[in-house]
Structures are given as C-alpha cells and as structure tokens.
Symmetry: C2
Subunit: 396 residues, 2 copies
Amino acid sequence: MSAGRGVTFARGFTAGATAAGVKHGDAGRLDVALLVAERPCVAAAAFTRNQVIAAPCVVTRRHVARGPLRAVVVNSGNANACTGEQGEHDALAMAAAAAQAVGARTEEVAVASTGVIGIPLPLDRIVRSLPRIRPTVEGWDPFSRAIMTTDTRPKVAEREVWLRGAPVRIGGIAKGAGMIHPDMATLLAFVTTDARLDTAGAQRALRSAVDASFNAISVDGDTSTNDTALLLASGASGIAVDGDAWEPFVDALTDVCGELARAIVADGEGATKVFEVRVQGAATAADALAAARTITTSNLVKTAIHGADPNWGRILAAAGRSGARLDQRRASVRIGGVDVFSRGSPSTWDANEVRAVFERATIEIDVDLGVGDATAKAWGCDLSAEYVHINADYTT
Amino acid sequence: MSAGRGVTFARGFTAGATAAGVKHGDAGRLDVALLVAERPCVAAAAFTRNQVIAAPCVVTRRHVARGPLRAVVVNSGNANACTGEQGEHDALAMAAAAAQAVGARTEEVAVASTGVIGIPLPLDRIVRSLPRIRPTVEGWDPFSRAIMTTDTRPKVAEREVWLRGAPVRIGGIAKGAGMIHPDMATLLAFVTTDARLDTAGAQRALRSAVDASFNAISVDGDTSTNDTALLLASGASGIAVDGDAWEPFVDALTDVCGELARAIVADGEGATKVFEVRVQGAATAADALAAARTITTSNLVKTAIHGADPNWGRILAAAGRSGARLDQRRASVRIGGVDVFSRGSPSTWDANEVRAVFERATIEIDVDLGVGDATAKAWGCDLSAEYVHINADYTT
C-alpha cells in the first residue's frame, strides 16, 4: 500500500470530509466526503450488475451519461438502497447540495453511498454538513477514511507514468470489506488522472482496468447494490491518451485499480490471509475465469486456507463444479509453488515447505485444468470465525 | 425425523456394518456398511455433476447401467477421490469383495465412499472386514451410523403408501453435513422400495424426487466429488408403479428424499438454524430456482440468520445477483410470515414478532420477484463460527 495521495495525486483535484452523524452511534466519525475537480472532467463509471441497484448509482449513471463531472459526494453509514422513490429523490438532493457547495451544476456531481440498506438517508444532516468541508490537496486522507464502513484501513494507490516524454498521474481511493464479489465487486472506487481522455476512451480504459482488478476479487461471494467505480480525467497534464500512449496508460490504470482491489481483499471482513488463484490450461478465457472465481469463493477452500491446510481436493472440487471444462487425469495443483497434485495424482510434499507457504503475505495457488491454453487470475481471502461474528452482529 | 428402519423398511432388504479402521485414529468406529437385496433389484442412480468425480461413482454408474443390483457397499473415512487409476481399481476390488461376501456378481454391487480426498483407499482393511458383516433387518441402525463423516446424527426416513389397495414401502438412509450444494447435493443417499418398477421408471422417479429434495438444499455451496443417490426396487410388494399409481409413488419417494435432505441441512456443519426459501413471482421456474438457491448460499444471508437479524436487504441483494429477473419496485420479502419489505419499500414490523420467528425450527423466507408466476423452494442453514472451526481444522 502506497503512502500517497490517491485521488489528489493527479493535478486538478482536491478532497475533504466531515463528520455529519450518518454513522449512528458514532457522531465523531467522518462519514461525508467530497472530491472536487478544478475544471469539468471527462468521466467514466462502472456499476454493480446486481438488479437491485441503489438510488445513488441510478443518479450517478444518469449524470455520467450527460457529460463532464465537477465533483463526487460520498457518504458512508447509509447505502440509500431499497429506499423506493424517496431514495432517488434523496440522492438527487445530495448531488444538488454538493453542487451548491462547490459551485457546480447538479448534473455535474456524482453521488455514492455505502452502509446499511433500507433505511432512509438522513438527508438533512448530509446537506448541512457539506458547507463545512474545505477541499484541499491534503484532503485525500480524511476522504479515504470518511468512505470506510467495516474497512479497518484506508485503501490508497497511485502511479506516475511517462507518456510522450511527460509525467501523467493516476491515483485512486477505494473502500470495501464485505459484500465483495466479482461482477463489479462490492465497493466504491474513485480514480482520478490528469491525462486527457475522451469519453469513449475513458469508459474503455476503466472497463478494461475494472475487469482485471475489482471484478477479479471476492470476499464473500455477495455482490452489493451500491458498487461504483468512477474515473475522472482532468486533462491537466496536457497529454492525450491515444496511439502509443494508450497501452501504458491502461496498464498504469490497471495497476492502480489492482492495488486497490488487492487491498480490499486483504482487508476483507475477518480476513487473515489473501490468496491469488492462477488458472492455466483452460479451454477458454471464460472457463479460466470461472474456475479461478469459483475457487476464490469456495467456503471450503477459504476455510482450508484459514487453517493453513494444503487441501488441493477442495481446490480441484471447486474447479470441477465451476462449469469450466477440466480433465481430472491431466489436472495439476500447486500451492505456493509446491506440487500437491500433479497430472491426476496426489504428490508427496515436504510439510515444512508447505507450512512456510501459508506464512507468506499472499498464498499463490496454481491450477492447471489440463485441457487448453487459456489463463486467468483471481484474488480471495480466507473465511474466519471473525467474518461470521462481524456479519451475524451487523444490524439492519 | 422418523425412528424407522430406513433402507430395511421395504420388504426384501437387509443391512449391516462393521468397524474396519478406515477412519484413522478411531479404530472402534463403524465405517464399512452393506445393504443387501434378497433378489436382484431394478436400480437407478444420480451422481455428482462435479467434473472431478470419484472412482466409486464411476464404477457404480457402470454397474447400474449394466442391470439389476444385489448389494451396495459403502465406506466412510476415505472418499477414494482424486486417486487416479489406482482409485478405480480399488473401487472395483471393493465391489468384488462385497459380491463375494453376499454371493452376488461384482457388477451387481454398487460402491460408495465418503471422507478425505486424495488418499489411497485402505483396501485390505475393507476387504477383510466385509465377511464380518451379518446383514439383518435390524442392521439399518449400524448402517446409518457407519456411513457418517462429520454428521452428528443418522438420517433415516420412510413412507408407506397404498397403491391399488396394497401397501408399498419406501425407505432411505442418507449422510452429509458439509460440501452440500445443489447439483446433486454432496451426500450419499440410499433408498429402497418394494414397489415394482422398470429401469426407465425407476430412473425417472428418482430424478424427479432428487430435483425437489437433494438438489434444492445447500450447506456451503460446495459440490462434492462423491455425491450418489441410489434407488433399489425389489418388487416384493407385487405392486407395479404405473398408471394411477405413478403419482402417489413419486410423491412418497419425494417425501422420503425431502425428509432426508432437510435432515442433512439441519445437521449442516456448524448449523444452528434451518431456513426455507420460497420464491414466487418469478419470470420462469429456472429464475425462481436460481433466486432461491442464491439466497440459500449467500454467506451474508446465512450469517444474518445466524445472528437472528431480519436483514431483507441481503436477501434482496442475493436475489438481485442470482441472474433471475426481478423488479425491485414490485419485489416483496417476508420472514416467518412477517412483511419486512413490501412492493419496493421497507415495512415496519414488530421486533418481538420477528424475534419469535428466529426461534422456530425452520425459518420461512418468502420472496416475490414481482415479474411473473413461477415459484421454487430451496433449503439452507446458517453460517456459524463453528462451521469455520470444523473446516479449518479438517485434515487433508
């Protein structure tokens, strides 16, 4: 995790946050945040694929489709989801209040919310709190903390990439610890850049980065109603992202999103271990991804990893039910580089070597399906008793 | 749960079990079991849909396809899965030894195994133990305990149904507590009847019963490599299952399988609560089933139920990611008959009433997707810290 500035690393952005009392029972905690762009920014967004979609996503999708954005307003503590017509009205009112605070038009503001579902948004408190926020370049830090819910730490990442001989910056801040699963993993992610992008390019770059990062992680297999990833491009670097500049830009954007995504998995509710699943030998890329994702979401794999158990049988069984084609007589599994199942038969391994694998920061699991050439990666975390405690005690 | 005789309730069957020492570190525990039919029986089978399929399933599928069965041999403690060519050899040798013990041909014996994956079967111990088993009508009890792994109690069910003025009996014994999920839930189930069925009818009746029972339950979303459901029909009642007799027979068979399936969920690893999800208002039956199953497997729903939290937001979000079409402005959720979300908006409810709901033996969850007329049911259990302990400590 970088120490960096996240959303204010790129030129042209400021941020800030305040405590509005949305998080009930915790009046002093930061829970409303603003990200402000000096000038209108080209924007792109990716949202949850859950059919139950929260009001702020509906409003933000509309605003992004309309044109450039000037600001993003976020609250934690209340998701404004499953709140009916009132919810959409509240999300729009929140955008309007933020627009007034920063001197923009309502449709130039994106809205994001995260927290409990089905409780009306405490709109008044949010509206009253917004004028108190003084966005600055240093404001990335309170911003990163204000958007947290069950997260135990902020997620911040940035990259500088040289394009056409000049530095272009990309930075992001994300939150998410539960309800995290592929299909736009359950999270909020805000990424800014000073590169110059057109709308179609911004959307294409974000989609590519999201698919290889946020859509390849899983904490608990549950997709949220509020997932939002936003990209704002200020153009302040003067560097256009096209031609030769496209690939290095998208790579850097993917790196930023990937670092944020892995930070989310590492901070998964109750997580004590992160694992990376690398599938090869699949018939198709879709098969590879299906197998990788199914392994990262298997409760039996997750508990085995929690117990530091090289249980390749559960890994193979998860691949076997994923729908991906596999040949069990040619399949292989390695855990942390140690052969545990090789071309259809269990291997013998050194118990000490395997023990050491489970002490690594990230446990690498390689699975060869034995039928083709396609590959995919996915990231998951272990399932602990603490996960159960967190989610059994969480109040609706 | 009935007190009954399970697999020896129908006329023409005996059973027994012994302790062969397959379950390591627990030499005194029953772990090899025999079910014997007086005469060759028409047989039908359903197996795991996992592509990683264990050797005993491969052998049993072949034997069922060949013709009538005389016996079933089962061991617990070792799944004989992912054991390569040796595994298939061992499964066949186990069938041959059982055939010799009961005076049948090898291809008249079905084999089933359950336990750890990837360890060669201790074939010698199993073979040596078989002559010690003396199958009797009372042997259903040791049989029911010998096939258990992490199960805490035997699962036994039976029904008598009058067809054409005469009693026909159906009884079954099952095991399963983890790796339980639709697509032939992870389990072994042995059902016998004294009805007279032809092979096609037996297969059709079993498929119908399995789809509405074992394929509609989930403990942890993980499908096993060894799932097997077997139906043996002795014909000893003299009553043929055709014409008017078909439907009452299949209903009774479904009842037996359903009772066994719900007993498996209730005994799910670490389970303290069972819930039944009834989806209505779906566009198609497949949509209804997808929504019901996704809700029963959601870790967030399962932990909410563990915490006695009427968290309809998680229920709705699980339906929303299931792929089933839903209209969130017309959707409704009831928990134990209490309206918690009604036609797109949260309801207000009596906290005492909801608390009482969570004290019931089975918690009923009704979800209306608000788009059509199709319905489906599924059963699940809560996710507890105990589940994590059981599965993190289980040894490969």
